[in-house]
Amino acid sequence: MAAISLVWVLSSCFDQGECLITNSNIIRVSLRTKDNQPATITFASVSVLNDTVLYTNKSLTALDLPVNPGVLEMTYVFDYGDGTDTLSFGYTNQHVVLSPSCGAFPYQRNLSVTGGTFKTDSVKVTNPSLLKDALENVRIYY
C-alpha cells in the first residue's frame, strides 16, 4: 500500500500533462433563412480573400472557414455566380502550453465580425471560441 502511495505521489510530481488538443482554427458557419431555418445556398466559390479557394460549385447549409493564426483578421469572399459578398472576422490568440511533448498552441478567441457586405443583423457570432467540439460559431441569415 505504501509503495502504491509513493508511486502515486512521485507520478504526480513528474506529471507532464495530457496531450488533449482542443483548439481548432475553423470558424463553423451555419446558413439560415430569415426565420431561422436551415438554408441551402449555392456558391460558385467560397475563398479566402486573395488566397485559397475553399469550396467550388457547392450547395451548402454550413461552411467551415479556416483562420490563419498568424494574422488576427480574415476576409472571405462568397461568390454566388450572379454576385458576391465579403465577410471579415477578427479574433485574438490565447497561447497555451499543453505539455513539453505536446507543445504550445494558439487558441482563437473573441471572434467578432469586423466588416463585409452583409447587413449587420445578417451575421451573428454564436460562439466566439474556435474549439474542436464547437458545433457552430457563426450564423449567416439569407
Binding site: 505521489v9 504526480s12 510530481c13 506529471d15 500533462g17 495530457e18 482554427n25 479566402v48 485559397t52 479556416p66 490563419n68 493564426p69 498568424g70 485574438t92 490568440n93 490565447q94 497561447h95 497555451v96 502550453v97 499543453l98 505539455s99 513539453p100 511533448s101 505536446c102 507543445g103 504550445a104 498552441f105 494558439p106
Partner: protein, 199 residues
Amino acid sequence: MVDTTAARFIPTGVRLGADLLTIGMSSFREDFDGWEVAADVDFYRYYLVAEFGTWSTNDLINNGQYTNDGTYYRVGVDVNFLYKDPDKNMFFIGARFGHSTFSDQLTYSYDVKQFPRSNYDVSNPGVTGTWVEMTSGLKVKIWSVFWLGATGRLKFGLDLDGNGNLTSYDVPGYGKTFKSNWWGFNYYALVRIPLRPKK
C-alpha cells in the same frame, strides 16, 4: 507534566533553514534554478511558518521554449502532535497560503493546413498567483542546534492574475498549472536559535 500557564505561548526558539531539494534541483537540472529558505517560531504546540524562494524554469517544448522567473512565499501554521517531546521534535499538520510574483515568456512556431508556419513570441510581464496548501511532515533534532525537516504539501486553489494572451504554464512555488492540485516536497536543513532557556 503539561504546561498549562499562559507562559507556554512565549516562543522558545526560532528555526532557520534551507531546502536541500531545491538546491539539488538547481545543481543537477539544467531546466531549473532556484532556492528556498524557511523559518518557524513556536507558540506552545503551534508554529508560525514562513517560507521564501526564487524559481526560474526553462522548459523545452516540442515546438519551442517556455521560461519563467519569479519569487514566492508561503505563510501558515503547523500544529505539532509531539508537543510533549522535551527536544521539541515535530510531527505536524498545517496549512499555508502561497503567493507568487513572476514573469513568463513563450516562444514557439505553429502551422496549420492552408497557411504558412507562424512564429510567436508572447510574454506576461507581471503575473501574481495565489494558492492554498495542506502540509504534513517531521522536524527532528539531529545534534545541538542542527535539525532536519521534511514537509509534504498538497497545493490547490491556484488563482492567477495578470495573464494576457499567454496562459502561464508554470508558477514559481506552485508548479505546472494544468492540474487543479499538486503534491510538493521539501527537505530542510535547519538551525534552531533558542530565545529563552530550556526549563
